[in-house]
């Protein structure tokens, strides 16, 4: 059964005002194309969860889509501050809920595996536990020592960008796999955007590579370069100048508005956006091939 549709349709059908959204991808495969489509569709009051809000949630916040943010590290990776979200928190324009990376990922793991909590060992750091009542303690019945527990995170919708998927939604990822699997399994609905839509036989030629199975997927969209300015391992590089440039763009309301007008509202879809970036950028982000050693599954 094909779940292939346009990104526009996928967002229309699966992302609604007030949803809890998890746009997955730790530093890699960040689904920027989907976020831009959410902005274009004017979706409001989202609770957005990510270990690292990154530029993707800075953009959603700037466009007024965000009511609340759940996170564990709010920075512009390798650059510095995430100005828009930081200001929104400092000025209390958004609500926030905060964890450490492992706490955040444990919440997803609990959601993805159907558990009411996941334990983690004590870290000795007391302040976040005091600030967030969702972080609790339990006594280990075997040693009588205390463990920290966090509750499941159960997003309404996860968006996951992948290297390749078939039309049913079976999706394969390589390079940094982050929390993609956990986000997909934890969520009620899953949108997959893919660099390539491949025949089912390609997926079936390497089943160990499959991270997300078709039956947890709601929609599959063919969106090359969907992760720019982040990257897709083996397809294109991270656009570091973009990350550095965002530090400037995000300094004033005017420059933010101008950027959104030009690069989000002013383009119809990712294909237009990519073409607009131009040849120099395409060339700069191009990567040479580097193939893995082959794997023999055997013909049984």
């Amino acid at each position: 059964m094909s779940k292939l549709c346009s990104l526009k349709e996928a967002i229309q059908n699966n992302v609604h005002d007030g949803d809890l959204l998890y746009a997955a991808g730790f530093t890699h495969l960040i689904p920027f194309a989907a976020a831009h489509e959410i902005i274009r569709q004017g979706i409001k009051d989202l609770t957005v969860a990510r270990a690292t809000p990154d530029l993707i949630y800075d953009m959603l916040t700037a466009a007024g889509c965000v009511k609340k943010i759940i996170f564990s590290y709010m920075g512009n990776p390798g650059v510095g501050s995430l100005r828009i979200m930081r200001k929104a928190i400092e000025e209390k324009q958004v609500e926030w809920e905060e964890y450490s990376h492992y706490g955040m990922i444990s919440r997803l793991q609990a959601g993805a595996t159907g558990l009411p909590f996941i334990p983690m060992n004590p870290t000795a750091a007391p302040s976040l536990e005091k600030a967030n009542p969702n972080i609790k303690r339990l006594v280990d019945p075997y040693t009588q020592k205390e463990v920290i527990v966090v509750p499941p995170l159960l997003p309404d919708v996860a968006i996951v960008h992948v290297q390749r998927a078939d039309i049913h939604g079976n999706a394969q990822i390589w390079g940094i796999v982050g929390e993609q699997k956990e986000a997909a399994f934890a969520s009620k609905r899953v949108i997959v955007t893919a660099e390539e839509i491949v025949d089912e036989t390609v997926i079936r030629s390497d089943p160990n590579r499959t991270v997300i199975p078709s039956f947890v997927v709601s929609a599959v969209c063919h969106v090359p370069f969907a992760a720019h300015p982040s990257y897709t391992q083996g397809y294109y590089d991270r656009d570091n100048p973009f990350y550095l440039g965002w530090d400037e763009v995000s300094k004033t309301d005017e420059s933010i508005k101008a950027w959104l007008d030009e690069w989000v509202y002013g383009v119809a879809d990712r294909e237009t956006y990519w073409q607009k970036l131009g040849d120099e950028t395409h060339e700069r982000l191009h990567v040479k091939d580097n193939f893995s050693a082959p794997i023999n599954y055997g013909d049984y």
Binding site: H28, S72, I105, A124, A125, I176, R238
Partner: protein, 252 residues
């Protein structure tokens, strides 16, 4: 040979690493320090990144924790849940590097907020993985410039645990790691005494105790014998400048 503060920090951080250490490393100076150690006395160092990369061999300087150059040529890549649970929580990480906006008398780190948490004066990035690194790596090293505002007597928020209020409080917390073993600044090296209080144990060449004290927000304890660190060798500087950061992105 002349050297910058960043080079001094990096060289002294590298020297704390032992061969075959498994190091949980971020970008920037810690990454350079690990690579320098691999090029000198610790060829079998294993670098782990919180993005889930093990045994990275970056062919260019990684500019973010998720740089694809960390993946190509690594020995293993795993999920974020796995890197924190199978590696860090299980006790497979020997060394963690940490930094932060504030470091206090007992090596506690604040990377979350200046002022009140609910009404932040300045909102900082938050923990990321540093709460777990500080809690569970066998040894932690704090690498930071030495300025008075960075070294208050007590941090506003304990993002990552040092020795809390000292006197064994960390030990009773149940955290498995040994806590910060040294704070390396561009002026000196401070190590915790038996109560967990940071103590001045070594000065970099040409630095005085007074200079350190002036840049520290409490009356700094002095070790009975304060040594002087060996200055960066020309070979160390050559590796840093020619091989690891030729564009001077982190070391200028």
């Amino acid at each position: 040979m002349e050297y910058s503060n960043s080079e001094l920090l990096t060289v002294n951080a590298a020297r704390l690493l032992r061969d075959e250490d498994v190091v949980f490393v971020g970008v920037g100076l810690p990454n350079l320090a690990c690579n320098l150690a691999m090029h000198t006395h610790a060829p079998n160092l294993v670098m782990i990144y919180e993005a889930g990369v093990i045994g990275a061999r970056p062919s260019r300087l990684p500019l973010s924790i998720g740089d694809p150059t960390l993946v190509s040529g690594a020995t293993a890549v795993c999920s974020m849940y796995d890197i924190f649970s199978f590696y860090l929580q299980r006790g497979n990480v020997d060394v963690g590097f940490l930094g932060g906006a504030q470091i206090d008398r007992f090596g506690n780190i604040n990377a979350t907020v200046i002022g009140d948490y609910e009404n932040p004066k300045t909102r900082l990035p938050g923990s990321g993985g540093s709460m777990e690194i500080a809690g569970w790596a066998n040894r932690c090293y704090i690498i930071t410039p030495h300025q008075k505002r960075r070294f208050p007597e007590k941090v506003d928020f304990i993002t990552s645990a040092g020795f809390l209020n000292g006197q064994g409080e960390r030990q009773t917390s149940g955290a498995r790691g040994g806590g910060p073993q040294a704070v390396v600044t561009h002026l000196c090296i401070m190590t915790p005494d038996e109560t967990g209080e940071l103590t001045l144990t070594a000065l970099h060449p040409g630095v005085t105790v007074e200079e350190v004290q002036q840049n520290t927000g409490w009356l700094l304890k002095l070790a009975p014998k304060i040594t002087v660190t060996e200055q960066p060798t020309s070979e160390e500087l050559r590796i840093l400048r020619e091989e690891l950061d030729p564009d001077g992105i982190y070391l200028k």
